[in-house]
């Protein structure tokens, strides 16, 4: 799997992401500066990591979404290429129009950093095939604006088309207000676009990939992508 990590000024989880990708795919990802106008040849996966691109000033992800490299990402996605946006990356995807909706301030207005449980809603997508449908995984969140919102019509479509891949839940998989850490509509933690090749999610699977760090629940996402690409090849 040849992956490319986009580096926007102010991004800060690119090293965490690179470590996870290297560990699981065996290949060092390419780091692509935001001012570039093309992606490295043969890229299989574009990753927008977490952080505070442009300080999260104006709106999270708004300024990064208008970077030169984003045209190349749009073309790549239109071609069916896989795009993964985590945390700030999710915000950038929403701001760029590659995903619908927006991430608002957390309902309690505070930054939150702790482990959360996510229910994997289906396993038949490149982004979830490393898991079973209904499986509960534990990964950390670290964000101040992860409260997913969209108009009713959009939410209805997301649900109807099975595009919600990850949802905040309890340790045993229940969905409800007490487990919905940031107030997101429908407890949404991660969604895909219509075509299913662009995923945006708030939690950080890349921080739970090593045994020695105590939890490896995040591995499945990356391992699934590797498996998907191997089969496609």
């Amino acid at each position: 799997m040849k992956s490319a990590i986009l580096v926007f000024p102010g991004i800060n989880r690119e090293r965490d992401m690179a470590r996870a990708l290297k560990l699981i795919s065996g290949h060092e990802p390419a780091m692509v500066w935001h001012a570039e106008t093309s992606l490295p040849k043969g890229t299989d996966l574009v990753v927008m990591p977490g952080g505070f691109s442009y300080g999260d000033y104006l709106r999270c992800g708004a300024i990064a979404a208008r970077s030169p490299v984003m045209d190349a990402v749009r073309a790549f996605a239109a071609d069916g290429g896989l795009v993964l946006g985590v945390c700030n990356g999710f915000q950038i995807l929403c701001e760029s129009g590659l995903l619908p909706g927006i991430l608002m301030r957390n309902a309690r207005l505070k930054f939150i950093c702790h482990d959360v449980h996510l229910r994997v809603e289906r396993s038949d997508t490149p982004f979830t095939r490393g898991y079973n449908a209904g499986q509960v995984i534990r990964v950390p969140v670290a964000h101040g604006e992860g409260n997913y919102a969209a108009d009713e019509e959009t939410i209805r479509r997301l649900e109807g088309e099975g595009r919600v891949l990850y949802r905040y839940c309890s340790a045993t998989g229940e969905i409800g207000d007490t487990h919905n850490i940031n107030g997101a509509a429908q407890s949404i933690a991660g969604i895909v676009n219509v075509r299913g090749n662009v995923l945006g999610m708030m939690p950080h699977p890349e921080n739970h990939v090593e045994d020695i760090m105590g939890c490896t629940d995040g591995r499945g996402l990356f391992a699934g992508l590797v498996a998907h690409l191997e089969r496609a090849a």
Partner: protein
């Protein structure tokens, strides 16, 4: 030239921040507040003195960046 662009949330879009402020004002004992919605203002200095040009630039700024027109409305005023 000085101008102001005001960006506000469209009606119907949830405003968690406005809601929290509403709650906080109530618990601070500020009376009579029924609802709060938060928006942004941008005070912009423009080079040049052509009003029409300035308005076009401001509109471009708002459309391209300052507002997310999926959820926000904006208003442009050239002040002087």
């Amino acid at each position: 030239m000085k101008a102001r662009v005001t960006v506000t949330l469209k009606t119907g879009i949830l405003d968690p921040q406005g809601k929290a402020i509403e709650g906080a004002l109530k618990s601070l004992g500020v009376d009579g507040i029924a609802s709060v919605r938060q928006g942004k203002v941008f005070d912009i200095e423009l080079a040049g003195a052509d009003r029409a040009k300035a308005e076009a630039a401001l509109k471009a700024a708002a459309d391209k960046l300052l507002a997310n027109t999926v959820i926000e409305n904006y208003r442009v005023e050239v002040l002087s």
